[in-house]
Symmetry: C2
Subunit: 447 residues, 2 copies
């Protein structure tokens, strides 16, 4: 199963990365740089991040090459010298990457990935690494909330039609599967990542067949154990037509579920359940979709709606309530020189860092500490080596199911308030070690 990004061009870069690279080359600045990728602050409505996208990044780093057409285009801009373009022509990423494995939980300010490489290489990667980790971590973090809200009910990703492009739909399916979704409607994601694909029917099918009862009959002839969409005209009449079909088919009736896609889903589910049960169709499940996310799912379940599974689309695929993370990629060290910036509200922590996480006696996470890698702090270190000298290590070659299992396990360890999505009730404690704080203060006073 290849994980090649759909846009595999080396020119997926902001121009300033290339101009800075050339300036480094011209100025003879070729030190070994360490950049941290982290989210400065969490958006309202998120109190943790579920990390995803690492496999995609590593795949890109291994394959990053400038084509002849890329170099020709760059030459046409009139600001790059031949010696720089020659450097790009032979470009291979030769650096090291340390990261939190996919399916880990992260908090604001914690490095989730760290690149150490010659500065000319590390600088090139700024935008592409931010972009790829941002998308999948954004969607995985939203999906994790839906998973917690659904409390064991089946979740299917329906996002593709309104995600920001087809690549976003593809990686959104991947991210939500890691977070705990069981399937996706996205066929390309099924092919590429081995995620189970599933689907029901559209209103257009019912319309095309002319009458709803005929549409149900015809569709179940092709797919006996399908899910029938009942709201094209009037939802409860649609339910009655499913019951009618069951009566006429007898033992041949194997429809797995009905799907509600509009109206008051809770009320309709209750009434549909009542009618199905009264007809002896207890085993026909109810599946609901339509503008849902963790808020809607939690409310429906809290009100006792008899819904067995949910299709979650636009609000998941665009992370609608928080469509971006304040993710950054910041220089923290050059050779043996720790560095920081002090821009208002955008200050960074210097040096080569690790994150340690402590758990209480019940296995619930109790707090993190950010320190320097050579410190010995209590807890479990979260950043692990995944790439060395441009080659993927075992830690960077996990399958998607390993990441999914880790996410399930890590979500179980969250404090109860976070699992209940009571965001903001208690801030998760992330401390800075004394040595790191001292280093930061020293550098700031000298800036």
């Amino acid at each position: 199963m290849t994980d090649a990004p759909p846009t595999a061009s080396a020119l997926v870069v902001d121009l300033y990365e290339l101009t800075m690279m050339q300036a480094y080359q011209l100025g003879g600045i070729d030190g070994r740089a360490t950049f941290d990728l982290f989210v400065r602050r969490l958006p309202v409505g998120r109190d943790f991040l579920l990390v995803a996208g690492l496999a995609t990044v590593l795949d890109r780093l291994e394959k990053l090459r400038f084509t002849a057409a890329d170099l020709e285009y760059l030459a046409s801009l009139g600001q790059f010298r031949d010696e720089f373009l020659q450097r790009l022509e032979g470009f291979r990423f030769s650096g090291d990457v340390v990261a939190m494995p996919e399916g880990s939980i992260a908090f604001a300010g914690e490095p989730i990935l760290r690149v150490t490489a010659p500065i000319i290489e590390a600088q090139l990667l700024e935008t592409v690494i931010m972009n790829l980790v941002h998308l999948q971590t954004l969607v995985a973090s939203k999906a994790a909330r839906v998973v917690l809200a659904a409390d064991g009910r089946e979740l299917v990703d329906f996002g593709l039609r309104r995600t920001h492009g087809t690549e976003s739909g593809l990686y959104g399916a991947r991210a939500s599967h890691i977070a705990g979704f069981v399937a996706t409607s996205n066929v390309e994601a099924g092919k590429r990542f081995g995620i189970p694909v599933t689907g029901t029917m559209a209103h257009s099918y019912v319309q095309a067949l002319g009458d709803e009862a005929a549409a149900f009959r015809s569709f179940t002839e092709a797919y006996p154990d399908t899910v029938l969409l009942v709201d094209t005209y009037d939802t409860l009449r649609g339910v009655d037509r499913v019951i009618g079909l069951a009566a006429s088919l007898g033992d041949q009736f194997r429809v797995r579920a009905i799907r509600l896609d509009s109206g008051d889903l809770g009320q309709l589910a209750s009434e549909a359940r009542r009618r199905l049960d009264a007809a002896g169709l207890e085993r026909v499940q109810i599946f609901a979709s339509g503008n849902l996310d963790e808020v809607g799912v939690k409310k429906l379940i809290g009100n006792g709606a008899p819904i067995d599974g949910f299709g979650i689309g636009t609000r998941l695929g665009t992370s609608q309530d928080a469509p971006n993370l304040d993710i950054v990629y910041k220089l923290a060290q050059l050779d043996d020189r720790p560095l920081l910036k002090l821009s208002t509200d955008k200050a960074t922590l210097p040096g080569i860092k690790q994150v340690w996480r402590r758990e209480d006696a019940d296995g619930v996470v109790a707090g993190d500490t950010l320190g320097l890698t050579d410190e010995d702090l209590p807890g479990r270190p979260l950043l692990v080596p995944v790439m060395e000298r441009g080659a993927r290590l075992a830690g960077g070659a996990e399958g998607i199911e390993t990441a999914r299992a880790r996410a399930a396990s890590e979500l179980r360890k969250l404090p109860r308030a976070m699992r209940r999505l009571d965001a903001g009730i208690e801030a998760y404690p992330v401390a800075v070690s004394d040595r790191l704080q001292t280093l930061r203060d020293e550098l700031a006073s000298r800036a």
Copy 2:
């Protein structure tokens, strides 16, 4: 300049489209279907749409092919028969497309694109057409608001690092250029679409050089007419260092602008302007970035901030305040039979439709009417043929600059309240013709 979508797979589809297609084939349903693409309701904060994405869709339709690997994957799912997979193997889009050209203005409920094709073909395209038009129309509509707010000042797209994937960054750059942005930092977008690329420098460059004055000197040696980023440590000290560089370089000093990226941009711009002017550097411009969109730009300009250009990133690239449109692709006719659905809050209009737009004596748009194509209604029809029998027509082969010129012209025709971004003050009138309304009511009463 090719416009091939990054993810060119025919499997960018929701599974149900394929299962419905097979059911149509099995059931012998092969009528000619017409589907409308439209946005049901505009999100809060939008009172018009700037249409974009058509070129990308047409390119996809021309090239859509199932590969052997695609068919092998579909066969592995165990629900598709050989005769259906053979149909896919030979798939070529043979239908017609009518659309609003890119750079048009559209309102809620108006078809922006219409596909007429054998239903088995038209059904396949549902998700991919929605996805591609959605993304570019979403970003173009946001970008148009920033263009109106900037009132002639230079705008550059900085979105790539936090867009939802690399494809979203690519098409976001395209969409914002159509809307009126002058350049992008996205090099791939420059190569692929011929959009001017531009960039400044990052904080990392200043950090890497160790001291800010040295960094400015070194960067201007490589790029004499560059833009210097002044906020790595202390913004006004950074400005003073630029002034110091000018003093030491004398006639050789050709720095085009400084860039502010944090803090109170309005206050900092005023003080920076004062210091630059006092040093005789009136021609050094001020460029600002950092969490800006139309709201921030409008406020800065309204307060008289002396800012000459803006870099607009995350809030544009993710359309942060409204990260999705309620876009749908709905069956409106099958052969000579007009169709509708009545789902709660999701009802559709039947038949093959056109949109007519009227302008007042000053050329300001005055109202639209939705009617049936064979009606003769006042105003200019907005939907034009762009593809016939699978082949692109002249109307579907416009360049990006044509679309950009149209957008500029159409934005000028908007009512004053809309141009001032006073959203919601007056609703733009979109009427339904008597004949269309009668047809709809008749069909609804028979459903």
